[in-house]
């Protein structure tokens, strides 16, 4: 029995470091992540480096800016004319990316 118990304990103590991240060791409030044993602290340059393309990462922000701009023209046009027009190409004076004239 003792031997078995010792064996299990030994196995666990060996295995334990490989399963260390339990989320309670914080480097700062709200920042408690730790790398799992044998996994990198930073993935950049490691075998798990996602190698994100900055051009891809910026597409969402660009898309939001373009949508917000089109919306601004729609609102401007509705305020000017009292009618709503979704298709910005039909809005007189519309210029892609330009700010609508002051009301």
């Amino acid at each position: 029995m003792k031997l078995i118990a010792f064996g299990i304990a030994a196995a666990m103590s060996l295995a334990a470091p490989a399963f260390a991240y339990d989320g309670t060791n914080c480097r700062a409030p709200g920042n408690c992540w730790e790398p799992k044993p044998d996994y990198p602290e930073r993935v950049e340059g490691s075998e798990y480096d996602p190698q994100h393309d900055p051009a891809e990462l910026s597409k969402q922000g660009e898309s939001l800016a373009a949508m917000d701009n089109r919306n601004a023209w729609r609102i401007w046009h509705a305020a000017q004319t009292g009618t709503f027009e979704y298709d910005v190409a039909k809005i007189p004076g519309y210029e892609e990316g330009a700010t609508p004239p002051a009301q």
């Binding site: 399963f19 260390a20 991240y21 339990d22 989320g23 309670t24 914080c26 700062a28 409030p29 709200g30 920042n31 408690c32 992540w33 790398p35 799992k36 996994y39 990198p40 602290e41 930073r42 993935v43 950049e44 798990y48 996602p50 190698q51 994100h52 393309d53 900055p54 891809e56 990462l57 910026s58 597409k59 969402q60 922000g61 898309s63 939001l64 949508m67 917000d68 089109r70 919306n71 729609r74 609102i75 509705a78 305020a79 709503f84 979704y86």
Partner: protein
């Protein structure tokens, strides 16, 4: 405008007009007050969750434990669309507003003659939108703004293709359309819009395509953007109040939207919100949860990944966050934290009356917070088989992870509970304030999970994990059944008053009433009523298809009706809906729900019930008949 007013007068019942006039006197200008007043009238169901407390609770008692056996279909309506029918219809005065999955057609029915479609608004959408929807082409509902001195009432709709639309509630005409999300980058909309004061809130979807989540407020009348707040990145874009998390600094405060990510990974970090909202007008705070970080492959994004997976309290007027509590730091299981927020006022363990928020999360924990400051009051496992976490420490707020059930590259984790579908998903549950019980529609699904590396390309899926899902330990894993539970939960004692197993996940949510009944729909195609005190099954009815929405109830001409959408779909229906057989397809749901097709097929519509099936048509069989010479 003149036309709008005339239509209003002809189609709204004297009762509804009286109530509008009454609240007009009580609170002249503020639209949110009018919504509060309208919600108090059992004739109306003006928003998701019925009122700002999001309790899905009705004071009505005509349908009760004694009479429920007499519940019969009164009338029904097919939307003409297949796929998952989530959410619930709205009723205001004499109109029922019905929404559909893609292409997101909106219908208004006349409750004085439900055979008459007053108007329908069918948008033209780019069909490509369907290809970037992760989990069926569902939509969770409409929103209603009651109008003011200058503008008649409006109905709001989100579209899968990313638009938010304001429609005239009386004619269905488009008033304005704005672009909120771009399908070209994988960003879609399935969430129901939500009206607070003179603003309409719009969430976001697409974390499975690496979309960084945000919530936006628009002016109800013009569509002008008031504010927008993101879930990750710099504090200005998170829109944090200067005293953000001051009552609980250990939750974390400033700069964490960047510091808990490596490099620019936060730019494609997920955290979309496609669940539900609740609002406390006295605090002027609204509540919602941010979703999972992207990708599912945890190894590709070291850090706590704030503020994904967080419960937010934001000021409606400014959008500024007063508090946020991250439930699942560094998610490893896709426990998207967008689930329902139910508000209540209860005494805590020390006998102190508190304003609370209760939230059954995907991760298997039901969280209850003080909704004025974010204090953690309780965090209980909704089933004892939850194993990714040993416990949630109430003093630190930290979940104590069990490393055995984490996920990581070059490793296949097994028997993790809950699965990515969560022990609770998008279902909008209910709270019975008399019994102080939350009626929780629960999933009982566990999983194996193995991540893999993949690049990010805007517009393409960015998941990076292969999953096998199956019934939890209390289900029948051999036969693929026993995937759901329904329980009555007390948030203060942490006890379950009762619990019952279901064949499939209880996906759509629940509704409870002062009649002592808890209603809910099932994926295998039933609407059921249980005794709120004991959980005993008192009544059920076989619907044309499975249910993924929540029941609602309203009174019309003094009679109580219960309505529910049918039309199976959503994530559990992906295998059936898209005819998939690979068990790991549909992000792993195909295997878990392989038996579903033996019990139901696709559908789409509303079924309305009343005692003995009484309706305007049984009152007068001639209502709705064509009379020669009549144009209607």
């Amino acid at each position: 405008m003149k036309r709008t007013i005339r239509k209003t007068m002809t189609h709204v019942s004297p009762l509804a007009v009286a109530s509008v006039l009454a609240c007009g006197l009580a609170a002249p200008a503020a639209a949110n007050d009018t919504l509060v007043e309208l919600a108090q009238d059992p004739a109306n169901w003006v928003m998701t969750g019925r009122d700002y407390n999001a309790q899905n609770y009705s004071e009505m008692t005509e349908i009760n434990k004694e009479t429920v056996a007499r519940l019969r279909p009164a009338w029904s309506f097919s939307t003409g669309v297949l796929h998952g029918h989530e959410g619930t219809p709205l009723v205001v005065g004499d109109k029922m507003f019905i929404h559909s999955p893609f292409p997101n057609t909106t219908f208004a029915l006349d409750l004085n003659d439900p055979g008459t479609i007053l108007w329908q608004n069918k948008p033209r959408q780019n069909p490509t939108a369907r290809t970037v929807a992760c989990c069926d082409v569902v939509n969770r509902g409409l929103a209603y703004w009651p109008g003011d001195d200058t503008r008649g009432p409006l109905v709001f709709r989100t579209q899968l293709d990313g638009h938010i639309v304001a429609m005239d509630a009386d004619t269905g005409e488009n008033i304005w359309i704005m672009e909120n999300s771009d399908i070209k980058v994988g960003s879609t909309l399935t969430i129901a819009p939500y009206v607070i004061k003179d603003m309409v809130l719009v969430g976001s979807s697409g974390a499975e395509l690496g979309v960084r989540g945000y919530v936006t407020a628009y002016d109800v009348k013009t569509g002008e953007q008031r504010w927008r707040a993101f879930a990750t990145g710099p504090d200005e874009e998170l829109k944090l109040a200067s005293d953000f998390n001051e009552p609980n600094p250990h939750y974390g405060q400033f700069n964490l939207g960047l510091e808990t990510w490596e490099g620019d990974a936060w730019k494609i970090g997920g955290g979309t919100n496609w669940g539900w909202y609740a609002y406390d007008p006295d605090e002027d705070l609204f509540y919602y949860g941010s979703g999972n970080p992207a990708p599912w492959n945890e190894t590709m994004r070291p850090g706590d990944n704030k503020w994904t997976m967080a419960i937010w309290g934001r000021e409606a007027e400014t959008g500024e966050a007063k508090f946020a509590y991250q439930k699942t730091p560094h998610d490893e299981w896709d426990y998207a934290g967008v689930n329902v927020m139910m508000l209540s006022e209860q005494e805590d363990k020390d006998g102190q009356m508190r304003k609370l928020l209760t939230h059954p999360d995907r991760n298997g924990i039901v969280y209850t917070l003080d909704r004025t400051n974010g204090d953690l009051i309780s965090a209980d496992k909704m089933d004892d088989t939850v194993n990714w976490v040993k416990e949630v420490q109430l003093d630190t707020g930290l979940p104590v992870r069990d490393p055995e059930f984490g996920t990581r590259m070059d490793h296949k984790a097994r028997d993790i509970c809950p699965s990515a579908m969560g022990y609770h998903n998008q279902g909008h549950d209910s709270y019975d304030p008399e019994r102080k019980l939350f009626m929780l529609g629960i999933n009982h699904i566990c999983m194996d999970w193995e991540p893999f590396m993949l690049p990010y390309r805007a517009g393409q899926f960015f998941v990076g994990a292969t999953l096998d899902m199956y019934p939890g330990p209390k289900g029948d894993r051999q036969n693929g059944l026993g995937l759901g539970q329904i329980k009555a939960y007390n948030a203060i004692t942490g006890e379950m008053a009762w619990e019952k197993m279901e064949r499939f996940a209880v996906w759509g949510g629940t509704m409870s009433t002062a009649g002592g009944l808890t209603f809910y729909g099932t994926l295998d195609g039933y609407i059921k009523a249980r005794d709120s005190d004991t959980g005993d099954l008192l009544w059920k009815h076989k619907l044309p298809s499975g249910v993924v929405g929540h029941p609602m109830t309203y009174q019309h001409d003094g009679r109580q009706y219960v309505a529910i959408y049918y039309g199976v779909g959503g994530w559990p229906g992906v295998g059936l809906v898209f005819d998939l057989n690979d068990p790991t397809a549909g992000l792993g749901s195909v295997g878990a729900f392989r038996r579903l097709k033996e019990f139901t097929q696709m559908g789409g519509g509303v079924m309305v019930f009343s005692l003995d099936g009484n309706s305007v048509h049984t009152d007068d069989v001639n209502i709705g008949e064509w009379i020669p010479g009549d144009d209607a």
